[in-house]
C-alpha cells in the first residue's frame, strides 16, 4: 500500500507537469489549429534558464528558498514567454494563410533550431541543478513520507492551472481567446483583435511550459537538451487524450497520464513505461475519437 500511494503522488506530480505543458499545446491548437511542436523546447528552455538564473543570481540565498523559487519561476516564465512570442512572429505568423501542414513543418524546424541553440549554449551533457535549493525533507501526510518538493510542485501547478482557468473564464482577454478558438472570422467581426489573442496565447502557453521545465529541474535534479521531446510528446498525448483545444481536458489528460504511467511503471513493467501512455491513448481514442472532454464535431455536409 505504501508503494501504491508513493507512486500515486509521484504520478500526480508528474501528471501536473504534463498538464502544464499540455495547456500550451491545447491553447495554441484551439486558436490556430496548429500543433506547436516547438513547444517542447519552451519547456527545455525553461529548465535551462532556471538553472542559469539559479546559479548566477543566488536568489534563494538572499530572500529564502520559497520566495526565491517563486521569483525565479516568474522570471523564467517571463523570459520564456518572450521567446514564445518571438517564435510566433518568426515561424508561424508568415504561415497563417498557408496549408496547415506547412506550418507543422515550420514548427518542426523551429524545434530543431531551438533544441540545437540550447545545445550550443549549454553543451550536450546532462546539467545538474544545485541540491540545496529546496529543503530535502519529507512531510508526514497520513503516515506517508512524501517529499516536500513533490507537494510544492503539485501545489504550484494546481495554483497556476486555477489562475489560468480564471483568466480564461473571467477576464476580457480570456473571453476573446475563447471566442477566437470557436470561430476566428466571427471573432474578428465582433471587433476582437485576433492577432493580439494569438500573441497572448503565445505568451501564456510558453510561460506555463517554461515553469514546467523549471519544476522538472527541481524535481529530478538533472536536465538535458533533448529532454523536451519526451515530455513534449507525453504532454501532447495528454492534450489529445483530454480533447485538444479543451483547457480542462488538457489538465485532466495530463494528470491522468501521469498517474497511469507512474502506476504502470511500478506494477506492469518499467521498461515499457513510455509505451504505456501511448497504449492508453490509442485505447481511449478507439472508444472516444475526440478525446475525453472533446466535443463531438458534427460532420459538415
Amino acid at each position: 500500500m505504501e508503494q501504491f500511494f508513493q507512486q500515486l503522488t509521484n504520478g500526480l506530480a508528474v501528471g501536473s507537469i504534463y498538464a502544464l505543458i499540455a495547456l500550451g499545446y491545447t491553447m495554441v491548437y484551439g486558436v490556430l489549429k496548429l500543433i506547436n511542436f516547438a513547444h517542447s523546447d519552451m519547456f527545455t528552455l525553461g529548465a535551462y534558464l532556471g538553472l542559469t538564473l539559479l546559479t548566477s543570481l543566488a536568489l534563494t540565498d538572499h530572500i529564502g528558498p520559497l520566495w526565491g523559487t517563486v521569483v525565479l519561476a516568474l522570471m523564467v516564465m517571463g523570459l520564456v514567454a518572450m521567446v514564445g512570442a518571438l517564435l510566433d512572429r518568426v515561424a508561424y505568423r508568415p504561415l497563417r494563410e498557408s496549408p496547415r501542414l506547412s506550418a507543422v513543418v515550420s514548427a518542426l524546424g523551429a524545434s530543431i533550431f531551438l533544441q540545437n541553440t540550447v545545445m550550443l549554449i549549454y553543451g550536450a551533457r546532462y546539467r545538474v541543478y544545485p541540491h540545496d535549493i529546496l529543503p530535502r525533507v519529507a512531510l508526514d501526510v497520513f503516515g506517508l513520507q512524501i517529499p516536500l518538493v513533490r507537494i510544492l510542485i503539485l501545489c504550484a501547478s494546481l495554483t497556476m492551472m486555477a489562475m489560468l482557468y480564471i483568466f480564461i473564464q473571467r477576464t476580457r482577454i480570456g473571453t476573446a481567446i475563447r471566442a477566437a478558438a470557436i470561430d476566428q472570422g466571427a471573432a474578428r467581426l465582433m471587433g476582437i483583435d485576433v492577432n493580439r489573442v494569438i500573441l497572448m496565447v503565445f505568451l501564456v502557453g510558453p510561460a506555463l511550459g517554461g515553469a514546467a521545465g523549471l519544476m522538472v529541474g527541481l524535481y529530478y535534479g538533472q536536465i538535458n537538451f533533448t529532454m523536451g521531446w519526451g515530455y513534449g510528446l507525453k504532454a501532447f498525448t495528454a492534450a489529445i487524450l483530454g480533447g485538444i483545444g479543451n483547457i480542462p481536458g488538457a489538465m485532466l489528460g495530463g494528470v491522468l497520464l501521469g498517474v497511469v504511467e507512474s502506476l504502470g511503471a511500478a506494477y506492469l513493467s518499467f521498461a515499457w513505461k513510455d509505451a504505456i501512455a501511448f497504449c492508453v491513448l490509442i485505447l481511449i481514442l478507439i472508444v472516444r475519437p475526440t478525446g475525453l472532454l472533446g466535443e463531438r464535431v458534427a460532420e459538415k455536409v
Binding site: L101, S106, L108, F113, T237, A275
Partner: protein, 318 residues
C-alpha cells in the same frame, strides 16, 4: 515526346553516370538520399494524396527492416528475395494498426501514428519475443548478391537503390493516375462529398496506408541489406519527422517535389558540415525559411488536367 516527358530522362542520365566521378563518401550520401526518396514517395501516398496525417512512418520501415534481418539471420534466405515478404509484413502490420484508428480526424490520427512509432521502437529496444536483439539490434545480415555478384561497395548499392527508386517512381506514378489515386485525391479534398459519390472512403484510406506502409517495408529490406546491422536507433521519431518534412517541404502530392525534398533534407546537413556543431541549427532555420518562402512546397503538385480532344483540334474554341 513533349518536353515534360524528357525531364525524367534529363534527371536519370546524370544520376546514372554521377557516381563514377564521386568518392565513396558522397556515393554513400547519395545512397541515403535514394532511401529517403523512396520512403518519402511511399509516405507521399498517405500524406500527400490521401491527406492522412502520418508521423509514424518509421514504424513500418522498421517492420520491413527487422523482418528482413530476422528471417535472413535465422533461415539464411537471401535478403533481396525477402523483398515481397517484408512488404507484406509491413503492409499487414499497417492494416492491423490502422483498421481501428483510420476514422480519427487529422491531428488525432497524427498523435496515434506517433504513438505507434514509439511503441514499435520501445518494443524493439525491449527485445520483443526475444528476437529483435534489444537495443543492440541485429547484426550479421548476409550481404545480398545478384546472380554471382555480391553487393558490397557503396557503388553496387548505389545502382541497386537508384534502380529501385526508378521503380518506385514508376509504380507510384501509375497509382497516382489510376482510379485509386483519383479516389484518394477526392477524399483528401472533401471526404463527405467523396462518400456521397460512392467512394468507400474508409476502404481507400486504409488501402493508402497499407500500400504506403508496405512500400516502406520493402525499403526497410534494402536498408537492412545495405547496412548488414540494424538497431532501434535507426527508427526513431526523428526519422518519421525527416520523412514527413521531405514530403511537405518538397511539395505534398508532387513526385518531383518529394525527390527534390529528399535531396535537400538529407543532402543539406552534409553540405552544412563546415558549420560543425551548428549544422542542425542551420538546418532547422533553413526548414523554417523554406516553409515561409515556399508555403506550398518547392515544387507544388499541379492540378489534374484532362484535355478534351475536340478543343485540341481547334474546333469549338470561342
Amino acid at each position: 515526346m513533349n518536353r515534360r516527358q524528357l525531364i525524367p530522362l534529363a534527371v536519370a542520365a546524370p544520376l546514372a553516370v554521377l557516381p563514377l566521378f564521386l568518392n565513396a563518401y558522397w556515393i554513400d550520401v547519395l545512397n541515403s538520399i535514394g532511401i529517403y526518396a523512396m520512403l518519402g514517395l511511399s509516405l507521399n501516398l498517405i500524406v500527400g494524396h490521401a491527406g492522412l496525417f502520418n508521423l509514424g512512418h518509421a514504424a513500418f520501415y522498421a517492420v520491413g527492416a527487422y523482418t528482413a534481418a530476422i528471417v535472413n539471420t535465422t533461415f539464411g534466405i537471401p535478403v533481396l528475395l525477402l523483398l515481397p515478404v517484408c512488404g507484406l509484413a509491413a503492409g499487414l502490420f499497417a492494416l492491423a494498426v490502422a483498421r481501428p484508428i483510420i476514422h480519427l480526424r487529422g491531428d488525432y490520427l497524427c498523435i496515434v501514428t506517433i504513438g505507434v512509432g514509439e511503441i514499435v521502437r520501445i518494443a524493439l529496444v525491449n527485445n520483443l519475443f526475444g528476437i529483435t536483439g534489444g537495443s543492440n539490434g541485429i547484426f550479421g545480415i548476409a550481404r545480398p548478391s545478384i546472380f554471382d555478384l555480391t553487393l558490397r561497395t557503396p557503388l553496387h548499392f548505389y545502382y541497386l537503390i537508384w534502380i529501385f527508386v526508378a521503380l518506385t517512381v514508376f509504380v507510384f506514378h501509375l497509382l497516382e493516375y489510376s482510379r485509386f489515386g483519383r479516389a484518394l485525391n477526392y477524399l483528401r479534398e472533401d471526404d463527405v462529398a467523396a462518400e456521397g459519390s460512392g467512394v468507400n472512403t474508409a476502404h481507400y484510406k486504409l488501402m493508402a496506408f497499407v500500400v504506403g506502409a508496405g512500400w516502406a517495408g520493402m525499403v526497410g529490406n534494402i536498408y537492412a541489406a545495405k547496412m548488414t546491422i540494424i538497431s532501434p536507433e535507426s527508427f526513431t521519431f526523428w526519422e518519421s519527422v525527416l520523412m514527413f518534412a521531405i514530403v511537405i517541404l518538397g511539395g505534398s502530392g508532387s513526385m518531383p517535389g518529394v525527390l527534390l525534398g529528399a535531396f535537400l533534407i538529407v543532402g543539406l546537413p552534409e553540405l552544412f558540415r563546415e558549420f560543425a556543431n551548428a549544422r542542425m541549427l542551420v538546418f532547422g532555420a533553413a526548414m523554417i525559411a523554406m516553409m515561409v518562402f515556399r508555403t506550398q512546397g518547392l515544387i507544388p503538385s499541379r492540378p489534374r488536367i484532362y484535355r478534351i480532344p475536340a478543343v485540341e483540334k481547334g474546333e469549338g474554341r470561342a
